[in-house]
Symmetry: C2
Subunit: 412 residues, 2 copies
């Protein structure tokens, strides 16, 4: 990375128009923390009363900004967000904690809030001290130039090895009012199960109590980011934050949320799913997006584990890169998940063609549609375990020479 | 694969001379099951009274030969072994079970034993019916040409994507007698933790009760093959079998084994370790052998899990391929193991140079020896967790373009 130009993923989607979210002022600029020829700092400022929710990596060695956000989240209130790209401020010891404290203090002074109402996120190289002075020095200029139309720029400024910017937006009805839910994300490697994944920031103009917002965000992350894997590696910085400004008036949302948030919940989950799939599409070196459906497992949890075992198997992912519908490796990956499975009840389909059924190859199945399907950009794998009713759907990408190229020289 | 010529691994070791093991007659030949230009069947025949031990894959969808061996092992007696390369007889349903029964019956007739005294192993493509007739037809010729000097040929005939043959031998004292322990192995991908790994066959002329032999083999496999990983994938065929012919007279080994087998146990474990490291050295696409030592974990089990998390991390393995001592990724891999770890107590060394200590980079550490170490063929990583006394050592190889080349076109 470090400003290296990677070819844009062939699976890239265009960045949609991201309209202003009432209450959110944002902008991006240059602090030259690591990248010297592009924007690398993003700022958002929110009005008083803004609530916040967050989901973080389950990595046991998280970065200092993750610790900072976890502590700040306890208050449930947010007034500002500062994101840096190029240096993750991870494994930087006391200096890293000081960077967080100093950045939050400087931002709080600008925004007229408490440091604990400032949220922080960083991605990039691990173990190098983040030059706090450069970051703090960049904040006033950035603050002076905030606007409501900075979403496109922010989607770009948070990128690291990403090859395209990622954004999504929806509107939702709460009572008689229409609110907006918009989000941006970055991430193209170190995407793995059971964690909140890379950096993702959502904002809405709805007024939602923090505990309700947290519940909606956590469930949505489970169904989206936690169903996407690129290389099974779990970043130390992964953060999903959502801010609700309350700038648009609507019927009061009760503390327990409830039915009136059904459409809002749908919108949040759709934005999260859009962003999660964009991350899979930008998997380092990805040439194909892979969707894996597991049915017939003993439980939904078991199905999810089996699906992730397939999605993380280097042998499955290289076979798909080679456009080989090697269902034998899929069977292997089912078996290595350690979940209940019976070889003789297992069925496997690729691109809708069942190649193996109940423990053996389907005699005389037509390879033609399978071969054609494997040549495409999107590959669908279906596995029926034949034991129960548990099901799961996850996404990943293929494992190609591009992954080795990118990760064999990340710091160079 | 399928006869494709891969360049020999730069980490290859020469095949040592493998002397006859009294009691073992063996040979290899051609059945043209898949490979048509090389030997692909290996046979061993043992005298009456030969005991057997076995360790198998933990994959829940094992091949038919694994099921066959598990059942046969209950008898504790062995008279013959038939190994095929090129087709794994996995996920072949009833036909696969029939292949096992037919092969064992044919072999039993030749050897004058019961079918349940015949052991079987196959590796290669999954999900294609193994042409039983070809295999059975090849057995009599092979049986007629058995000798005691076929170890070198057998080491070659069991190979699939291996780029060099793997063998090891030791002698050991039992009382006043000297016995031999020899072994051959194949495997260069789908090597993963918590299983018996690829194919490995050991034989000795000692007379060891089957339960004692089983205990020695299981412990040795745990310390060797279960500490080696190439790509985290767990094969459906992995099998380690050990045969004890009892052809050399020595003091009677009691049912509980005990102190008189100390030197014999050492020899078995050394042979297993030699073979396991050869497998790591032949990891698909491997350019560097990586040794990972974890100390200071809360338990040995926890240390092993952390070490395996590092060894299986694609980001760590690609960094090493790129000769980048990226200890940040090592920290990430420690954290993702899910085991107790405290970022601020963690230390990381590469090639004996401590780059990070107690949660931060070591100020002014000398990069010169680290850079030199990374350019070598053998890379040593040390991680101290700083919490307890649990330790573990595992091995893996780097993740290179070669892995993608080999596995992106395995069936083509």
């Amino acid at each position: 990375m470090a400003g290296k130009d990677l070819p844009v993923s062939p699976l890239a989607l265009p960045l949609p128009e991201l309209p202003p979210v009432p209450g959110v002022s944002l902008g991006s600029g240059r602090a030259a923390i690591r990248y010297t020829t592009r924007e690398d700092v993003t700022m958002m400022v929110f009005p008083q009363g803004t609530t916040v929710a967050g989901v973080f990596t389950k990595n046991k060695c998280p970065g200092a900004p993750v610790d900072w956000c976890r502590a700040a989240l306890a208050g449930g209130k947010a007034r500002a967000l500062v994101v840096t790209a190029g240096n993750s401020n991870v494994f930087t010891g006391k200096a890293g904690r000081q960077t967080c404290a100093d950045t939050a203090a400087a931002m709080a002074q600008l925004a007229g809030c408490k440091p604990k109402e400032v949220f922080l996120a960083s991605t990039g190289v691990i173990g190098e001290k983040l030059p706090t002075e450069k970051l703090v020095a960049a904040l006033p200029g950035l603050f002076g130039a905030l606007g409501d139309d900075g979403w496109q720029g922010a989607a770009r400024a948070i990128m690291t090895t990403d090859t395209f910017p990622k954004g999504a937006t929806r509107t939702a009805r709460i009572g008689d009012a229409t609110v907006t839910v918009s989000g941006i994300a970055k991430g193209s490697g170190m995407i793995a199960p059971d964690m909140a994944t890379m950096l993702c920031f959502l904002a809405t103009d709805a007024k939602i109590p923090a505990p309700v917002l947290q519940k909606i965000l956590a469930k949505g992350s489970d169904r989206s980011f936690n169903c996407v894997t690129v290389d099974s590696d779990t970043s130390t910085s992964d953060t999903v934050l959502m801010f609700a400004t309350g700038a648009t008036k609507h019927a009061r949302v009760p503390a327990e949320g409830g039915a009136m948030l059904k459409d809002f919940t749908r919108a949040v989950h759709e934005v999260l799913m859009d962003l999660a799939l964009m991350v899979a599409r930008d998997g380092e070196g990805a040439q194909k997006l892979i969707q894996i459906d597991v049915t017939g497992a003993v439980s939904a949890k078991s199905a999810h584990r089996i699906a992730m075992s397939i999605a993380n198997s280097p042998l499955v992912k290289t076979a798909i890169a080679g456009e080989d519908a090697n269902w034998g490796r899929i069977v292997m990956a089912v078996g290595k998940a350690g979940e209940p499975a019976d070889r003789d009840k297992l069925s496997v389909a690729v691109g809708g063609t069942w190649m193996a059924r109940e423990g053996g190859v389907v005699a005389g199945y037509d390879e033609t549609p399978v071969v054609a399907h494997m040549k495409g950009r999107e590959v669908m794998i279906e596995v029926d375990i034949g034991l129960g009713r548990g099901k799961a759907r996850v996404w990943t990408c293929d494992l190609t020479h591009g992954y080795i190229d990118i990760n064999g020289s990340y710091r160079s």
